[in-house]
């Protein structure tokens, strides 16, 4: 198991390399130049050139790439072109809010999706099922910024239950933190609830007809227990996969929510850095997201082993 984990972690390297090359190419081939941006419209050509030299942007792109990769291997992601802060510390500053939203939205998703799925499977022969499918689709087909706006107007302004925007670090109080996260997390969750409850439902419907489910029923166990224990446990593998991909996707995909709720997260950081052509930050963020992605997928794979004892990695 340990060996497997290590090996999987090592497989980050090829993924990283692919990601690095792509991101580096994209970032540097995109028009726009931080020197220009920093110095503004009226800057002189010499000043721009000087700044470019200072930032190392005058080097051939291959040299820049190797410099960067070498530094990354040494654990140095570089510094922001604008604030000169180390990229890593910028990312760490921003990851808190993003993780918080993700965490709460995942909790929402699970707390809502799981009972819904179980309920629908329980009532699988009734109209509830097609009704549910439509509802889950609806959740997934509402543009999220639109939904967020409506929610804010409703529950933030008209009936001011929740703050309309902002993020409070958990250090300043758990309840405050939570209070600020509920709306954004809920918006993110609506999309996922549809997806995950549907996955879970499909998995459970598959399991519900399996022989072991009949065995459980034949023991004389309550139907609700059969569903919640035997059927549910067997539907978890595909669901976990989806949750894994979803979490990874959330990392890069919370931009809109972060914008609407002014949460200073990774998504905002990424989009701001792109607009500013803050190359080291863009590269750092993408690399960081990729690492998290690989790690989450690894965790998901390891979780498989817990969820299904038949899957073993050793």
């Amino acid at each position: 198991m340990l060996q497997y984990t290590i090996r999987r972690l090592l497989s980050i390297i090829p993924v990283m390399l692919v990601v690095s090359i792509i991101v580096f190419m994209i970032v540097h081939l995109t028009p726009g130049n931080p020197a220009y941006l920093i110095l503004g419209e009226d800057s002189s050509a010499e000043a721009v050139q000087q700044l470019e030299e200072q930032l190392g942007l005058d080097q051939p792109i291959v040299v820049q790439f190797f410099d960067w990769v070498t530094n990354v291997f040494k654990g140095d992601l570089g510094e922001s072109v604008y604030s000169s802060e180390p990229v890593l510390s910028i990312i760490l500053d921003r990851i808190g809010p993003t993780f918080s939203v993700m965490l709460i939205s995942m909790i929402f998703t699970l707390v809502i999706a799981i009972p819904i799925a179980i309920f629908v499977v329980w009532k699988r022969q009734t109209v509830l099922d097609p009704l549910f499918i439509s509802a889950s689709l609806l959740g997934a087909s509402i543009p999220e910024f639109w939904f967020a706006m409506l929610l804010v107007l409703g529950l933030g302004v008209s009936i001011p239950i929740f703050p309309v925007a902002g993020y409070i670090p958990i250090a300043e109080g758990f309840l405050l933190w939570l209070h600020h996260l509920i709306l954004p997390a809920f918006v993110l969750a609506t999309v996922e609830i549809g997806l995950i409850s549907r996955m879970l439902r499909d998995g459970m419907l598959e399991a519900v007809n399996q022989d072991y489910t009949k065995t459980a029923r034949a023991k004389g166990i309550k139907e609700s227990v059969v569903l919640m224990k035997h059927v549910f446990a067997n539907a978890l593998i595909p669901t976990t996969t989806v949750i894994g991909v979803t979490i990874a996707g959330l990392l890069g995909g919370t931009v809109i929510i972060e914008t609407i709720f002014t949460i200073p997260g990774i998504g905002q950081l990424l989009i701001d850095s792109i607009h500013r052509r803050d190359y080291p930050v863009i590269q750092g963020v993408v690399l960081f997201i990729a690492v998290i992605y690989v790690v989450i997928n690894l965790l998901v794979d390891l979780l498989y082993g817990l969820l299904d004892p038949r899957i073993r990695y050793d």
């Binding site: 497997y4 090996r7 999987r8 990695y313």
Partner: protein, 334 residues
């Protein structure tokens, strides 16, 4: 006696136990662990044995789906293992396989006619394609209209016939049948067996016939190999085996066959095997059967018996046992 068509020489097939790409295998499943067999033109070799003893693996090795870990396979005297893609392709004309499961071995989205035509197309034998397909359908006792039906529109026995027609399309010399009737209900099973027998007679086919059911094997096979944990334990012509089996495992198998006759059945003595089938990843030392053998001796744990003839009278009867003993024939000669 006819020429050997297929010769297996000490075939071993080990599957590394590993889960992911980077992993070095720690151990191997010794699915087939040194099997040598000869099949002659026109005869039927039956293979029986416990579930998981390596029968299917052996079959898949013969048709080239698996590359054996060691050993050699001769077809018409030539080793086929070194064959390149093209030669392998040519070889497929001669060796065909019929699968256990009549449903899963047919592409559910192809019509019966297409399924049967697929090998013909693969070998570009497309002249008179339709005629040939009809001929094959006819051969296996299906109707022309059936060519237009999808697999799910057939009964189990009919599906198995499609599988056989597909296997026959290229006029193969050798047909490997991997439990072709296990999934079928007894009456359907009878249809398929009859068909196979007729075809053998008409086309002079050679069969390797794998089955669980010893009654079926007895019915169809000329020669039977009894496998246990990747090895052949006893090899003999069918009559001899059913009447004079010598290996304790064969004896146990035979004694466990329930007879469809309540009176005989209730008088029978069975040899109950103790213990569980050992794992093919860690087969027991010495004689692999010693852990369950009712007559195992201390020495069986150390030494490995070879498959050889024990009874001078019958050179075709080979046993891998230090203490071969004939049990009372379950098959009364009546």
């Amino acid at each position: 006696m006819s020429e050997p068509l297929l010769e297996l020489k000490d075939i071993k097939m080990y599957f590394p136990i590993k889960e992911k790409v980077f992993k070095k295998p720690v151990n191997h499943v010794k699915a087939v662990n040194g099997v040598s067999l000869t099949v002659r033109q026109g005869e039927t070799l039956g293979i029986v044995g416990e579930s998981g003893c390596g029968k299917s693996t052996l079959a898949r090795t013969i048709v080239g789906l698996l590359e054996p870990s060691s050993g050699d396979i001769l077809f018409e005297g030539k080793s086929i293992l070194g064959y390149n893609k093209k030669q392998m392709h040519e070889l497929r004309r001669d060796i065909q396989m019929v699968y256990q499961d009549p449903y899963t071995s047919l592409n559910p989205r192809m019509k019966a006619g297409e399924i049967i035509a697929a090998p013909l197309k693969a070998f570009k034998m497309t002249s008179n394609l339709n005629e040939r397909v009809y001929e094959l359908l006819d051969l296996v006792g299906l109707k022309r209209e059936d060519a237009e039906k999808f697999p799910h529109q057939f009964s189990g026995g009919q599906r198995q016939r499609i599988g056989i027609a597909r296997a026959l399309a290229l006029n193969p010399k050798l047909l490997i049948l991997d439990e072709p009737v296990s999934a079928l209900d007894v009456s359907v099973q009878a249809q398929v067996i009859n068909l196979l027998e007729d075809l053998q007679e008409e086309l002079g086919l050679t069969y390797v016939f794998i089955a669980h059911d010893l009654s079926v094997i007895k019915h169809i096979a000329d020669k039977v190999a009894v496998m246990y944990l990747g090895k052949v334990m006893e090899l003999s012509d069918s009559d001899t085996l059913y009447h004079h089996s010598k290996h304790p495992y064969t004896n146990a198998l035979l004694s466990a066959i329930p007879l469809p006759d309540p009176e005989k059945e209730r008088q029978r003595q069975r040899i109950m095997l103790k213990g569980e089938l050992p794992s093919p990843a860690n087969p027991p030392t010495g004689c692999i059967f010693h852990t369950r053998c009712p007559i195992a001796q201390e020495s069986c744990k150390q030494h490995i018996p070879v498959l050889e003839e024990k009874d001078g009278s019958n050179p075709n009867h080979q046993v891998a046992c230090f203490y071969p003993q004939e049990t009372e024939a379950i098959v009364s000669s009546n």
